[in-house]
Amino acid sequence: MRSLRCPKIDLGPDPMNPREFFINPADYGLPTRDELVAYRIWDNHFHGFASSNPIEQYERNNFFVERMGIERSIAQEVGGTLEKPFEPYPHDEAILKILDRDKDRLSGRTPIDPGFPDESCAKIEKWIRNGPCIGIKYLGSKKKGVTCSHPNNDPILRLAAELNVHVYVHTWLQVGGAPRRPGGGNRESESTPMDLAKLAQRFPQVPLICGHSGGDWELGVRAIRPCKNVLLEFAGSDPHSGMVEYAIRELGVDRLVWGGHGPSRSYATELGKVLDADISKADRMKIFGGNLRRICMPIFRKKGNARGTVICRNHNAPKPNKAATTVVRSLNG
């Protein structure tokens, strides 16, 4: 894996580089960085560009990408922002340059809004068919209150099927309302896992990702359980011991993907969910990246990105970069 350009962290007179550690993870029952790299971790949920200073934030976060051995990140906001997905974004050009510079480590989804199906399809044409993006990111419509189960979504999903791309849908089940119920506290346009299940039944050929495990994973899993084309994402919700094993029991390991949700969430938080599970290395690799590579392979192939296809197919761990090495310093100096 190529070493990223990333800053050192200033701890005083001697800055620390991302591969320096004063603690050996193996001594604490954790995978070492080498072992994390060997898992081939693909981050399905990366908010590196979600900031008023997106480039600065992205570069800063690379320290942690490198440190935690993340192989590839899928940025959720390429071409516009989650708040204003259809407005030209002043940082688009700089983000495109970074996507090209870091193409071995970074991919992107473009955000759309089902409140505006025509604009959404135009955006998919521009950023996926004719651009660098490899997937569609659904946010809830803030202007029209349209969730992902609304008929507005059908032209978007037909285009997704034609392009053979997956669709990521933000879902939550916020408790609230009167009487209180799961989902009763959702924003007007915020999709529930039940909304996603309705959409999935209409488009069983399109791989869909149920973002944030539906917010409430115990209920989210139940909602999408019958829909074989829906994968469950572990990202952006609190870590609960046992959640991954529960999802495997109900959905099967081939329907789980992992996301870091950084930098607002910790890779530590999200990795811990999967490492908590008593499962085989092969199953861990599926969750950490194998399943996402499987659904991404068609779009990599369609784009003629031979390297991308190799990336998706190759399940062997990459050789370590000889120039950049991991150093565990003594904790007892």
Binding site: I9, L11, G12, P13, D14, M16, F21, F22, I23, N24, P25, A26, D27, Y28, G29, L30, T32, D34, R60, F63, F64, R67, M68, W172, L173, Q174, V175, R180, P182, G184, G215, D216, S237, D238, P239, H240, S241, G242, E245, S264, R265, S266, Y267, A268, T269, L271, G272, K273, L275, P320, A323, T325, T326, V327, V328, R329, S330, L331, N332, G333
Partner: protein
């Protein structure tokens, strides 16, 4: 905090010295060799004091490590050498004495000198002062844990100052839990209000030597709460645990080591390891130690020394 002399650490590390001498391609082998010698290095790696675990059943789900024996084995597997244990039963029970007695017995049976019981009192129940006395004098507990919100009071409760003074006088540690889980996924039948921090800061200032730890305190705070946190942690015996510090490099960010990000600039001697197990995976808290760029002195402080300062005995 003085910048650590990190070059000395490097000099004293056999592994790093070996790494400097071998061609770069062999460094990975050197590291692997180090991992193979796990038992040797484990003997030198410091154990961790986990200041935030709970025993028994979480009321809303059967947790993976709800069995105390299994939890103890899990914690020991990750080199936890001591765990300060509260009880999930304290959230909703009225008979707190029964809760505390069961907690003390469970710790004795499954983790003598490993599980350290932290009983609870509920300021909303009558005669809670007697529960303080029993925790201290009968159950020999070194501290108490309160769960505002689940227990029906907030930190502006008029009895809080009495509790803080009582614990200070008895030399007990008072742990204040700010949340158990994301309120967005609460069971619909419960309506737990957010805990307000400011009144605790005022109260703690009036008993400045009280030992108080914040558990599962949100790290991503701004504005007034950020200032309150600075004021609170300026007191001599106050700490917060890492279980709810969120965001890449969250501990380093809390310390102020990551340039360009807002920080409470909390000194490393005010942060303690806490996993919130078995509700959260213990791996999550451990990985935060790895993820954040922390030097040896910071790690020692967070993993063990700060907790040991509050509770000197093993």
């Amino acid at each position: 905090m003085q910048p650590p002399d990190r070059r000395n650490f490097l000099k004293n590390s056999l592994l790093s010295a070996a790494a400097a001498l071998v061609p770069s391609g062999q460094l990975w082998a050197a590291q692997s060799a180090s991992r193979r010698a796990r038992s040797g290095s484990s003997a030198r790696s410091p154990g961790i004091i986990d200041t935030n675990v709970n025993l028994f059943d979480w009321p809303f789900r059967a947790l993976k490590y709800r069995d105390t024996k299994a939890l103890v084995a899990k914690l020991k597997k990750h080199r936890i050498v001591e765990a300060w244990a509260g009880s999930f039963e304290a959230l909703l029970s009225k008979d707190l004495n029964g809760v505390n007695a069961r907690l003390a017995a469970e710790c004795r049976e499954h983790g003598p000198k490993f599980l350290i019981p932290f009983g609870s009192v509920n300021l909303a129940w009558p005669d809670w002062e007697e529960d303080v006395r029993r925790c201290h004098e009968i159950h020999r507990m070194p501290g108490l844990r309160i769960y505002p919100g689940y227990q029906p009071f907030d930190l502006d409760h008029p009895a809080l100052e009495t509790l803080v003074r009582m614990t200070a006088k008895r030399g007990l540690i008072l742990q204040v839990v700010f949340a158990m889980e994301d309120p967005r996924v609460h069971h619909p039948l419960i309506d737990v209000r957010p805990v307000t921090f400011a009144p605790l800061v005022k109260t703690a200032k009036r008993a400045p030597h009280a030992k108080v730890e914040l558990l599962h305190f949100p790290g991503q705070i701004r504005g007034d709460d950020l200032n309150h946190l600075k004021e609170f942690l300026a007191l001599p015996n106050t700490v917060l645990d890492i279980s709810r510090l969120e965001g890449n490099g969250a501990i380093a960010r809390m310390l102020g080591s990551i340039q360009g990000l807002p920080s409470a600039r909390v000194p490393a001697d005010r942060i303690a390891f806490g996993s919130h197990a078995p509700f959260c995976p213990v791996e999550t808290a451990l990985l935060k130690l790895i993820e954040s760029p922390l030097d040896a002195s910071q790690l020692h402080a967070i993993m063990r020394d700060n907790a040991r300062r509050l509770l000197p005995r093993a």
